[in-house]
């Protein structure tokens, strides 16, 4: 059996014919295996969903309890048989609950990594490399220009700026699932113990993170109830990036717009978005992590998906590893 008979792209998503399931389908299907809770990977309306308990919890928070017909929680490392195909979930280090999915049949193993990173992250379990024949890698930052600095340095720059401009507020744009909580946790680890002000869109997910034992400290809603604008002088406010362009942001005094994202590596990106303090903090693997991970898996063949496939395929060619782009549609980079 060829690898492409075990998993191959269909318009709905990556399909496994012998197991009759999809991984991260973008349209409603009968049986879905979900790597993590970002909305482009985890959609509602499937017949049954198999995912980690945390991913199931996050989907329920986002879509309501009835987001799927039935759900089943996968324990990390545990093998589950689906019509003779063995599947197992392994931590991906991307966001809370994120997992790679290993699919094994007739002695051949394919690992679909979903989205992943290798940098240490106190808000989720670290990535575990899994030996496999075929490794399906993301390529969100699949160009040699993407080299993420240590996240502690980035947070130190934020704190330095907050001290430099005590009369202004710092608005940190960070996606609601994962990035926002990671930034908050990094601030706490750096010794910042003042309240963090959050946009309403982050409240439920942040509360969920706290309930899972990830301490984010004192979070307060960024609403103007008493006093006025000056209440936020010197404050750090975290919210979804879209909110800062919105009228919502007018409650803050002379705000400095910050954006926590791997895209902030490119100056022009920061400039175009009107970002004054770019924070290069990413939940995706950078170029060095991608190439190191490909080697670690020992895979003979690499399938490259969502992102800049051509550079990573080129790198594999130079290394003598078979590689091809997997043309999956419908994935954006919500997570970064």
């Amino acid at each position: 059996m060829r690898a492409s008979d075990l998993l191959h792209p269909r318009p709905e998503g990556l399909y496994c014919p012998p197991g009759d399931f999809f991984i991260d389908p973008v349209r409603p299907v009968n049986r879905a295996l979900i790597t993590h809770g970002h909305s482009d990977h985890a959609r509602s309306g499937h017949g049954s969903v198999l995912a980690t308990q945390q991913t199931l919890d996050i989907m329920a928070l986002r879509y309501g309890e009835d987001f799927a017909g039935t759900t089943q929680a996968a324990m990390l490392g545990e093998t589950i048989a689906l019509d003779g195909v063995s599947v197992s979930f392994h931590p991906a280090g991307h966001v809370l609950g994120s997992a790679q999915i290993a699919v094994e049949h007739q002695g051949r193993r394919i690992v679909a990594s979903g989205d992943y990173k290798r940098q240490k992250d106190a808000t989720c379990a670290p990535f575990e490399p899994i030996r496999c024949d075929v490794f399906i890698t993301e390529a969100t930052f699949g160009l040699p220009v993407f080299r993420h600095p240590p996240d502690t340095e980035e947070v130190a720059r934020l704190l330095k700026s907050a001290a430099q401009f005590p009369e202004r507020s710092h608005l940190v744009g960070a996606y609601a699932l994962g990035k926002a909580q990671r930034v908050m946790r990094l601030l706490r680890d750096a010794g910042y113990d003042k309240p963090l002000y959050i946009h309403g869109a982050l409240a439920r997910l942040s509360e969920y993170y706290q309930s899972q034992g990830i301490d984010l400290g004192d979070l307060e809603p960024a609403t103007v109830e008493s006093g006025g604008k000056q209440d936020f002088a010197g404050a750090i406010v975290v919210g979804p990036p879209s909110a800062f362009a919105d009228r919502w942001a007018r409650r803050f005094p002379d705000p400095i717009s910050c954006f926590a994202s791997g895209w902030m590596r490119i100056r022009q990106r920061a400039k175009q978005g009107g970002v004054e303090l770019p924070l290069i903090i990413s939940d995706h693997a950078d170029w060095d992590e991608l190439t190191a991970t490909i080697k670690e898996t020992g895979a003979e063949e690499i399938w490259v998906t969502h992102g800049r496939e051509e550079a990573l395929v080129r790198w594999c060619e130079l290394e003598g590893i078979a590689a091809r782009p997997l043309h999956l549609v419908g994935y954006e980079d919500e997570g970064d």
Binding site: L143, P144, V145, F146, R147, P149, R157, S161, Q164, F165, R168, F244, A245, D246, R247, W248, A249, R250, P253, D254, P255, I256, S257, R265, I266, R267, Q268, A270, K271, Q272, G273, G274, V275, E276, L277, P278, R308, E310, A311, R314, W315, L318
Partner: protein, 532 residues
């Protein structure tokens, strides 16, 4: 090196002047000599380092990595310095325990000969991290482009030392890199450096605009009036064989006007307006003057076609004598006598405008006799020459601005206090034949309106968005829909860079014409008629 790199990164993305000043003063406070002085020199454009060509940089990087991968990277990033700083493969095992300081980097680069320049650069890039590599490449390719003028850097020094910026400007050309004595003085650790250099800049005297009720309180007999020439304010200083032309902020611009500098056969400091043409025959227009601005090299042909001359209105020094404490009347007398000794094709006297009362002057101001006159200047007869902008002795009374009714086409979000407001507006006027009219953009403005009006325009932009491009929205604007803005501006230049062929000087929103239908806005021909 990292602190300098971080400073560059912050400055380029910080739009507010106050924000930049804070970043610069904090840097001067926290970084030691000689690094802070070298950073200052780099920012003011005074740091001399042999340039490396972009093609060389490309060669160096593709010797180290797959050219195809480099190609993908460069295509994506679009900026060579940035791409190279990011992709540069650090040789394993060669990572130093600490990155080089700015002082070490500059010393190595300045010591490098032309032939071993690339090798030195390679060594430096190997020893540095990403941010530092970017800063190094910016230093060797010339031009930091961080939106900080020499003037702003001097203001930051003044803020840092809590002194007047005029003191910095006056000292500036006598100082040498890395400005250790200057920083010691600003930190209160040493005396103010004494200036012994020749042909130094003298901080200029500036005027205030005439306010609404100012003139009623003033006696016309106390003031002299001159035309206000719309050239470039310059100070010509010659002393001991050194000749320098300074801009009004003390930048040395002699290199751009060698024809004028060569004619400075005197020992004095003159204040006046740089214009083009031959003062005995005709003064050139602003478009003529533009031919001589912002050029790296000036061809002989350019100097012949648009010769530079100086229309003098003050004399600050003659030989050893400092005239600044004298009254304007006395200085003017000395100037009139002195001008006669100079080359008449390069220096002439700014004439007085005779007037009996303010009304008579008002009439003259409204209808000046030459297009390059932008109003009148009033100078108190008894005033000494004072640095800065003292209120009272000098006034500028400009002619009224031009106005045009234009249609709002694009709006961009602002920064800081305005970061959630669409506050920068691109506007256009109609062109094309009847029935096929289309809007052509003619300018951009981001002030002139009140906070209340800003809220109204912002709402209008959000309610009438057609398309969004990052922070920019294109706004519905056609014959039947659109917001008409009355735009005031000081003048109009021909422009090959703009589709409309015109570029406005100092445009601002003067009125919101909610009452006016879009199709009644002005046509491009109205503007073209203003071109001289």
């Amino acid at each position: 090196m990292n602190r300098f790199a971080e400073l560059l990164d912050r400055l380029v993305l910080t739009p507010s002047r106050n924000g930049k000043l804070t970043l610069l003063t904090d840097y001067f406070r926290s970084v030691e000599d000689p690094d802070r002085g070298l950073a200052l020199a780099a920012i003011t454009g005074d740091l001399k380092i042999a340039a490396v060509k972009p093609a060389m940089l490309r060669t160096l990087v593709t010797e180290r990595m797959d050219p195809v991968l480099f190609g993908y990277s460069y295509d994506y990033v679009g900026d060579l310095a940035e791409t190279v700083s990011l992709v540069w493969p650090q040789p394993p095992g060669r990572i130093a325990n600490r990155e080089p300081t700015l002082g070490e980097v500059v010393a190595k680069l300045q010591a490098a000969s032309r032939s071993d320049g690339p090798k030195v650069l390679t060594g430096l890039l190997d020893s540095a991290g990403i941010s530092a590599r970017f800063a190094i490449i910016k230093l060797v390719t010339g031009g930091l482009r961080i939106g900080v003028s020499a003037r702003l850097a001097k203001q930051a020094l003044a803020d840092f030392g809590k002194v007047d910026v005029a003191e910095i400007e006056e000292l500036w050309h006598g100082l040498s890199q890395p400005y250790t004595a200057l920083f010691a003085w600003l930190e209160g650790k040493a005396e103010k450096p004494r200036n012994t250099a020749l042909a130094l800049f003298r901080p200029v005297m500036l005027s205030n605009p005439v306010g609404d009720c100012d003139l009623e309180k003033l006696d016309p007999a106390d003031y002299a009036a001159e035309w206000k020439w719309d050239g470039i304010r310059v100070q010509a200083v010659a002393e001991g064989g050194i000749r320098r032309l300074y801009s009004r902020t003390g930048d040395d611009v002699s290199g751009a006007f060698p024809d004028l500098a060569d004619a400075m056969h005197f020992s004095a400091a003159l204040d006046g307006e740089l214009l083009v043409g031959d003062p005995r025959e005709a003064t050139g227009t602003f478009s003529d003057l533009q031919q001589r601005l912002n050029r790296k090299t000036v061809t002989l042909r350019m100097q012949q076609q648009y010769p530079a001359f100086m229309r003098c209105y003050d004399l600050l020094q003659i030989g050893e004598e400092d005239l600044r404490p004298l009254s304007f009347r006395e200085r003017r007398g000395r100037l009139e006598a002195f001008i006669g000794t100079l080359d008449p094709s390069r220096f002439d006297l700014s004439p007085f405008v005779d007037f009996a009362d303010w009304q008579a002057l008002e009439d003259l101001r409204r209808a000046p006799p030459h297009p390059i006159i932008e109003g009148v200047m009033l100078k108190r007869w008894d005033s000494p020459y004072l640095a800065g902008r003292p209120k009272g002795p000098w006034f500028k009374w400009k002619r009224d601005p031009h106005t045009v009714d234009a249609v709002l086409m694009y709006a961009q979000r602002g920064h800081g206090k305005r970061s959630s407001f669409y506050s920068d507006y691109t506007f256009g006027v109609w062109s094309g034949t009847e029935g096929a009219e289309e809007l052509v953009p003619v300018g951009k403005a981001y002030f002139g309106f009140t906070d209340e009006e800003l809220k109204q325009i912002d709402k209008y932009v959000r309610d009438n968005t057609v398309e969004r491009f990052g922070p920019v929205r294109s706004v519905r604007a056609d014959r039947d829909n659109g917001l008409v803005l009355e735009v005031a501006f000081e003048g109009l230049n021909r422009s090959t860079r703009h589709k409309s062929g015109v570029a406005m000087r100092f445009p601002r929103i003067s009125r919101l014409r909610w009452d006016k239908p879009a199709n009644e806005a002005d046509r491009i021909e109205t503007l073209q008629a203003l071109l001289d």
